[in-house]
């Protein structure tokens, strides 16, 4: 309760400060205050475009995130299971780490067109990468004595994987997925700015043409709000549903 109070106070102070700064120092057309942004949000909701953009962005993020997580976990388990595989893939990992998904927009658009596929693939790329790295880390972090204890208990290779390695790695995997969710949001916006007819990225870039700064802010703030909502759901799954795997000793 006390924390909730602090949260509310913090949000109130920022909103009031924002209103004051925008009213006192800027022209409302350049830097609209929260009331102007709120009014525009209501209009966009009434028109139905905000819902449409949110659903479009969220759908792309969730599809790419889900596919990327599955691929990332599978590839991570394979690479993590052998020192030879790790060494084999290591150079590419560090090479690709520096190539932002934005750089891939051009080739991906050429290969897959400007439809949904290209956006989902870009988000999948970021997610796969983050989840794969954390899975490899999780798999290689299994304490040696835990593996040995399982061996002494008569566990076979598949049993060790299923009952020891996977549960030990799960916490790391979830941490990676949580990061990947953030990366997915960061990827979807530029992709929609460059090639889309809907989505929050489209809303932001399209509003610029009309100098509709209030609509731009609606798009930016909505990104934060749905990101926060997704993260809250994720944390709840991680610590509530899967708590026995994520509470570290």
């Amino acid at each position: 309760m006390k924390r909730l109070g602090i949260y509310a106070t913090s949000v109130a102070i920022v909103l009031v400060g924002w209103q004051l700064v925008s009213a006192l120092f800027f022209s409302p057309a350049l830097f609209p205050g929260p009331t102007a942004v709120g009014r525009r949000a209501v209009i966009l909701l009434q028109e139905g475009t905000l819902q449409r953009d949110v659903l479009a962005s969220l759908g792309r993020v969730l599809a790419g995130f889900a596919l990327g997580s599955v691929v990332g976990v599978l590839v991570g388990f394979v690479i993590g299971s052998s020192a030879t595989f790790r060494a084999f893939f290591d150079p590419y990992v560090h090479f690709l780490r520096f190539i932002t998904p934005i750089a891939w927009i051009s080739p991906v658009m050429i290969w897959f067109g400007i439809g949904e596929t290209s956006k989902v693939i870009l988000i999948m790329y970021t997610t796969t990468f983050a989840v794969m790295l954390s899975t490899v880390a999780g798999v290689t972090m299994v304490p040696r004595n835990r593996l040995r204890a399982a061996q002494a208990c008569g566990a076979m290779r598949w049993q060790i994987f299923l009952f020891v390695v996977a549960p030990t790695a799960l916490n790391q995997i979830l941490v990676g997925m949580r990061l990947a969710m953030g990366y997915s949001f960061m990827t979807v916006v530029p992709a929609e700015m460059l090639a889309a007819e809907s989505g929050l990225g489209y809303l932001i870039i399209h509003s610029r043409l009309w100098l509709a700064t209030d609509a731009i802010f609606v798009g930016i703030l909505t990104l934060g709000v749905i990101g926060l909502a997704m993260d809250t759901i994720f944390r709840w799954v991680m610590h509530g549903l899967l708590g026995r795997y994520t509470s570290t000793a």
Binding site: P143, N145, R146, R148, A149, A150, Q151, A152, C153, G154, A155, M156, Q159, F163, V164, P167, L170, R244, Y245, S247, T248, A249
Partner: protein, 259 residues
Amino acid sequence: MEFDRVAFSFGGGPRAGHRPVLGEVCLRIARGEFFCLLGPSGCGKTTLLNLLAGFEMPSSGTVSVAGHSIAAPGVDRMVVFQGDDSLFPWLTAIENVEFGLRMMGTTREERRRVATDALRVVGLAGQGDKFPRQLSGGMKQRIQIARAIVCRSQVLLMDEPFAALDAQMRSLLQDELVQLWQVTGATVLFITHDIAEALILADRIGLMSAGPAATIREVIDVRLGRPRRRDDLEFGQVYEQLNRVLSEEVRLTLQRANR
């Protein structure tokens, strides 16, 4: 259990660059015996245990249990480790204890029944639903012991299991372990660097020499009656005798390290 001229180096062979951990070790431990390996830190005590457990393979020589040479880990030789990272933190105490039975495909009811018994034996009755992180260091070691005894293995390999516990908990667990050993009749190989611990527990103590290429310097019969008392006059005398030998080996280890 027998070590027949067992040598071990990391990397497989006695090649250049691979410092031999064990020289030629010969040792025979009788069925039902409580054997303590005592030696300076880093001398290769754990390596000996790993060879028996099947976690490592000797570079030369053979390690055998009941006449069969060891090729892999198995439920006939259970291991209790020093730290708590060998426990499964996502499983409750009783689920940890059941692990071996689950791997064997024992039914859920049977598993629960045997594990409940084992928890009672190690003094954890009623604690089965707690997770390891909710239990003290001593209790976590008891879970490990319970996990080992449910598989009814006749060999128990213990790698400094009480080293991280406070003195009171340690001596309590030592007494309980002796009782458990007397009831089950298992053969125990127990590693320690604590002379008093070896004297409380062991029928015989193998003193290891300083590494590299460590061997068993001598094997001492502990002719003290049971139950043993730490304030016995004889206990003190044997302690001093062992202390002299061990100090010498520790000095050697340091000299070699400084060279």
